[in-house]
Every structure is written in structure tokens, then in C-alpha cells.
């Protein structure tokens, strides 16, 4: 088991290094000049600015300095805002994190519930409804869901009721957090429910369920204690990709609902070509996702003994 964990950590580190290298090289190859937008300046001023941001050193040295800084928790200074990228992340990430956690909870519980109901009522109306919801959830991009929810459940509903039920934008009251979290979580919920249905059907056909039935356990106990517990395993494996999709989806959902999270800063920095900010945010997001995937992999290895066996053989 220890060998497996060490192996996973090594891969995660390599991936992170590759990500940093790619980001660095791309930012270096980026067209334009970070100071081109400002007023015309003398060569001396320009040289001084270049020296200030360390852009006059050779490429490899810049890279080493960059990597060194990152591991010290310094992601550089945003050329647009003139502030440390880490400060901006520190301010805006908690909001994005809260949004992400809310959507994750919605998608996991909603997905497991939908998938389980669909599997138990296989071929019946409930199954068809649940799977239709799932296919639609997978097929409609999150920003469209966000815009539709905003229009119908915030704007139109408020106009009908004459009072504010779901606020249209912002991230202040509890009610204002419902729609963004749901819009962001819908597609992941759909993915989980489809996976859950398949693995639940497998579980329901297995021998231990027959044993449980033969023992005379109640239907509810069989489903929730025996079948769901075993069927939940594959859901753990998709938690990594789902975290990724929720994180990247948050960029646009935050944009639609005007939530002052990190996604909004990221999108703005892309539009403004604020390279330090883009690079810093990318590396931060990348590291976050890589660590999440690592934790999921290790958790799965601990929970499911078959993974341990397969890796022991290698």
C-alpha cells in the first residue's frame, strides 16, 4: 500500500512540474508585451521595468526562479492589478471553494439518489424520468443552465411574486447561493446518477443481495445497507474528474451570476492578457486538481482492496 501511495505521489509531482513548465513556456511565448498597453516609455524606463520583473535574465534562470518562487508560495505580481497573485487568490478562492463544495454536495447526493431510484424502479416511469434528467444534465452546458435558471427562477419568478425570492446576481444571502450551486452541479449530478444506476443494477443482481433477501431482511435495509454501499465504489473514481469539471465550470457560472470568486478574476485576466495572473491561477488550479485526484486515488486504494492487489502485482 505504501508503495502504491509513493508511486502516486511521484506521478502527481511530475505532472505538477510538467504543468509549471508548460505554463511558463507558454507565458514566455505569448505575443505582446506586458507593458505595451501603457503610455510610450523611454528605453531606460522599459529596461528598468524589465529588470524589476526579472524579465532580463536568461530563460532557464527565469524558469528556475519561477519554480523556486512557486514552491515558496509566491506566484508573482499581477500586472493588471499590481497586487500579489497569491493575495488575490487568497481573497477570492474561499468564495469559489464554497460554491464548489455546495455543488459537489448537490451533485453527489442528488446523483446517488437519482441513480438508486432509477435502478430500483428499472424500466418503470421513475427510471425513464431519472435517466432523461441525467441525459439532459450531461448535454446542456453549465453556462446555459445558469442563464436559464437566472432568467426563469430569478428574474421571471421575482416579477411574478413581486418580491425577491432568488436574487438575480451576487453572493450574499443563502438564497443567492442556491441557483449558482445547482447550475454548476447539474452536469456532475447527471454523470454520477448514470454511473450509480449501472453499478446499482450490478449490485442488485449479485449473490449477496440474494443472501440478504433469503435472510428475510427488509427491502429498505437491503437497498441502503447492502446494495448502495457496494454500488457507491465506482462513484469514488469519478470524484477527481468531477471536481475538475466543477472547478472549470465555476469560471462561467461565476461570470453569469457575477460572483466575486476566482473564476471571475481568471476570465477577466484572460480577456486582459494579464499573463502573471493567468499563469498563477492556472498553476494554482492545476495543483489543486492534481492533489484532489491524488487523494481520490489513494482513498480508492484504501477502500477497495482489489486496487491494492492489482498494484501489488506490478
Amino acid at each position: 500500500m505504501l508503495k502504491y501511495i509513493i508511486k502516486r505521489i511521484c506521478y502527481a509531482l511530475l505532472t505538477l512540474l510538467l504543468l509549471i513548465a508548460i505554463t511558463f513556456l507558454m507565458m514566455h511565448a505569448a505575443p505582446g508585451d506586458p507593458f505595451a498597453r501603457d503610455k510610450a516609455m523611454t528605453p531606460e524606463t522599459k529596461a528598468a521595468l524589465y529588470a524589476r520583473y526579472g524579465l532580463d535574465k536568461p530563460l532557464w534562470m527565469q524558469f528556475l526562479i519561477y519554480v523556486g518562487n512557486i514552491f515558496q508560495g509566491d506566484l508573482g505580481t499581477s500586472t493588471k492589478y499590481g497586487r500579489e497573485v497569491t493575495t488575490i487568490i487568497g481573497e477570492s478562492f474561499p468564495i469559489s471553494f464554497e460554491l464548489g463544495i455546495r455543488s459537489l454536495v448537490i451533485s453527489i447526493f442528488g446523483g446517488i439518489l437519482l441513480g438508486t431510484i432509477a435502478a430500483i424502479r428499472r424500466g418503470k416511469a421513475a427510471d425513464t424520468v431519472a435517466m432523461t434528467v441525467a441525459v439532459i444534465g450531461v448535454s446542456v452546458p453549465s453556462f446555459i443552465v445558469a442563464a436559464l435558471l437566472q432568467y426563469f427562477l430569478a428574474l421571471q419568478l421575482n416579477l411574478k411574486l413581486g418580491s425577491v425570492f432568488f436574487p438575480i446576481t451576487g453572493w450574499t444571502s443563502e438564497m443567492s447561493k442556491v441557483l449558482p450551486a445547482f447550475a454548476l452541479g447539474l452536469s456532475s449530478m447527471a454523470t454520477i446518477s448514470r454511473l450509480m444506476r449501472t453499478s446499482m443494477l450490478d449490485a442488485l443482481n449479485s449473490d449477496y443481495i440474494k443472501t440478504a433477501k433469503a435472510k428475510g431482511l427488509s427491502e429498505r435495509r437491503i437497498i441502503w445497507k447492502h446494495a448502495v454501499r457496494n454500488a457507491i465504489m465506482p462513484v469514488i473514481t469519478v470524484l477527481g474528474p468531477i471536481t475538475a469539471s466543477i472547478l472549470t465550470g465555476a469560471f462561467v457560472v461565476e461570470q453569469v451570476f457575477s460572483i466575486p470568486g476566482m473564476g471571475k478574476f481568471f476570465v477577466t485576466s484572460i480577456q486582459e492578457l494579464d499573463y502573471m495572473m493567468i499563469a498563477g491561477t492556472t498553476i494554482f488550479y492545476g495543483a489543486f486538481l492534481i492533489i484532489m485526484t491524488l487523494l481520490v486515488d489513494i482513498a480508492y486504494g484504501i477502500v477497495d482492496p482489489r486496487v491494492k492487489l492489482a498494484n501489488g502485482k506490478e
Binding site: Y11, A12, L14, T15, L18, L19, I22, T23, M26, M27, A29, A30, P31, V135, I136, V138, S139, V140, P141, F143, I144, A147, L148, Y151, L155, A244, L247, T248, F251, V252, Q255, V256, V267, I270, Q271, L273, Y275, I278, T282, Y285, G286, L289, I290, T293
Partner: protein, 333 residues
């Protein structure tokens, strides 16, 4: 033939019923009758032989849902290809009436099926032009992914050993990076154009296909037809392309169908955060992005491209599921 079979069955049933508990008693030869043998008829091929693909396709075309999906997708494809050609407006032509509603005439008395956008361009023409760009990006990007993935996965799976080891470690490291981040990074440093989106997507999208093909090839390469090809002196390239890849085709096709909606999504997503095709070109993603500005007053400007994006993604997702069912031998009845 049939007659003979029937008599045989009758006899065996009789003996089963009567002599069930007297098994040691020999069955006498009189109980059988010789009905003759028609050699001519024996050689007649009653049913034409059905290959694996024909069988799968037949099952697909007999499935009403799959057929409907294919008709819808075919319609969208057809309209995207031909509508911009035959439309009386071009996609960047501006008329004097802005933000017209559907089915209305502009100041000059010209009819617009879906009205005009906020610059007075014909929405109907732009909608299908956008579809053309979106689908083009999706098909080309997925096609490139597919070719690269097949070659990479094929080589890795067929040769195995240290080659496989190194190649798969690379895949593992690359796949650890969230692909949307890399695509966004690439898009920020390259000039926005259709080919940029395709390149950015293709650079990271091949990993999944490579893994899939490798797994399939590793399963197949121990089989007899590969060994016999090797004995006959076929080169590795020939074995891969002529023997192994065609046998993994069903898995590849299913995966291809499911990869298209993800490519459409990526394009729409990039357009939405402002990294899409440059103006005055349009894709469904940029149309949706433009529509969101006016959404409050002209909801149809967002709704129509949104519906088409969703419908296309839905169609390909469901079709992929149906194809998997059709190809999967385990599900055969």
C-alpha cells in the same frame, strides 16, 4: 431437412417420456425412420451471412430512438452545410433593423425567419453558419484525436514492454493536467481562429483514445489471427493497421460519437469566456455568448443557439449509448 429434424425430435421425445427410468434398455433401431437426404438443398444458402458490422448497423436502424436521433442530427448537419449557401443574407451583412423578433420584416421589407441580432445581422443565417463552425471544429478535432490516439495507443499496446511503459507514463502525466486549463492557456497565447481551437483541443484530447486503443490492442494481440499474420511475415505496421485496428473499430466508433459532444462543449465554453472564433465569424458558443447580453429583453437570442448546442450534444450522447448497445456482443439477444 426440416422433416427429418421433426421426426428425430418426436422420437427422442417419445423415448424420453417412456423410457425415462429404464435407461439401461437399448433403444431399438426400428424407432427411427430414414427420411432421405437432399444434397442439393443442403448446399443452398438460406440466409446471407451477416457480418459483425452489418448486424450492428441493422440493430441500430431497427431501433426507433436511434433512427430518430440520426434523422435529427442529419437534419442539423444538412442545415449547417447548406443553409448559409442558399440564404439570401450573408452572415456578416447588416440591415437597418436591429434586434428584430422572429418572423418579422425589417425596414426595407425583407423577411427574417429568426429576426436580427443586436447589429442587425440575420439570425437564421448566423445560426446555421455558427452550427457549421461548431460542428467543423468538433469533427476535425475529434478526428485528429482519434488518429493520434489510435497510432499512439496501437504502438504502445502492440510492442508492450519498456516502450509501453514509457509511453503510458507520459500519458499518465499528461492526463493529470486538467485539459480545459491547457486549452485556455494555449488559446491565450495563439491568435484566435478556428484552427487554433482545433489545435488546442487536439493537443490534449488524444490521451483518452490512446488509453482505450492500447487496452484493446493488448487484449487482441495474443489471438491466433495476429500470430498467423506474424508467422506469414507481416510487418508490425501492417498487423496494426490491417488486423488490430479494424477489430477495435466498434469501440473506437462508440468513443468517437461520445467525444463529439465534449468537443462541442469545449468550443462553446471557450467562446463563452471570450476565447472563441474571431468576429464576424460565429459559432454556437459565440452566439450564446452574444445572446446572454440581451437575454433579458430578447431571450430567443440565447435560447435558440442554446437549444441547438444542447440538442446536438444530446443527440450524439444518446447515439453513442445506442451504438454501444448495438456493438456490444454481451447485450445480444
Amino acid at each position: 431437412m426440416r422433416k427429418k429434424k421433426n421426426t428425430m425430435q418426436n422420437v427422442s421425445q417419445q423415448s424420453m417420456n417412456e423410457v425415462a427410468y429404464t435407461c439401461d434398455e437399448a433403444i431399438s433401431a426400428d424407432e427411427f425412420t430414414w427420411v432421405g437426404q437432399d444434397i442439393e438443398k443442403g448446399n443452398v444458402i438460406v440466409r446471407e451471412s451477416v457480418s459483425y458490422f452489418k448486424d450492428a448497423l441493422r440493430r441500430l436502424f431497427h431501433d426507433k430512438v436511434a433512427l430518430t436521433l440520426m434523422i435529427i442530427l442529419g437534419f442539423i448537419l444538412f442545415m449547417s452545410i447548406f443553409m448559409p449557401m442558399i440564404s439570401q443574407y450573408s452572415m456578416s451583412e447588416i440591415c437597418d433593423s436591429h434586434n428584430l423578433g422572429p418572423f418579422s420584416e425589417d425596414i426595407n421589407g425583407n423577411f427574417h425567419i429568426l429576426g436580427t441580432d443586436n447589429l442587425g445581422r440575420d439570425s437564421w443565417t448566423r445560426l446555421w453558419y455558427g452550427g457549421r463552425i461548431s460542428l467543423l471544429i468538433a469533427f476535425v478535432a475529434v478526428g485528429i484525436n482519434c488518429v493520434v490516439g489510435i497510432i499512439y495507443g496501437g504502438i504502445s499496446g502492440y510492442f508492450g514492454g519498456w516502450i509501453d511503459n514509457i509511453m503510458m507514463r507520459i500519458v499518465e502525466i499528461v492526463s493529470g493536467i486538467p485539459y480545459l486549463l491547457i486549452v485556455i492557456l494555449l488559446m491565450t497565447i495563439m491568435k484566435p481562429s478556428i484552427s487554433t481551437i482545433i489545435i488546442a483541443y487536439a493537443l490534449v484530447g488524444w490521451v483518452g483514445m490512446a488509453r482505450l486503443v492500447r487496452g484493446q490492442v493488448m487484449q487482441l494481440k495474443e489471438q491466433e489471427f495476429v500470430i498467423s499474420a506474424q508467422t506469414m511475415g507481416a510487418s508490425a505496421g501492417r498487423i496494426l493497421l490491417r488486423h488490430l485496428v479494424p477489430n477495435t473499430l466498434s469501440v473506437i466508433i462508440v468513443n468517437l460519437t461520445l467525444a463529439i459532444p465534449s468537443a462541442i462543449f469545449t468550443e462553446a465554453y471557450l467562446s463563452f469566456i471570450g476565447l472563441g472564433v474571431p468576429l464576424p465569424q460565429a459559432s454556437w458558443g459565440t452566439l450564446a455568448n452574444d445572446g446572454i447580453i440581451n437575454f433579458r429583453y430578447y431571450p430567443e437570442q440565447l435560447l435558440i443557439p442554446a437549444i441547438l448546442i444542447s440538442l446536438t450534444m444530446l443527440g450524439f450522447n444518446l447515439l453513442g449509448d445506442k451504438l454501444r448497445d448495438a456493438f456490444d456482443p454481451k447485450l445480444r439477444r
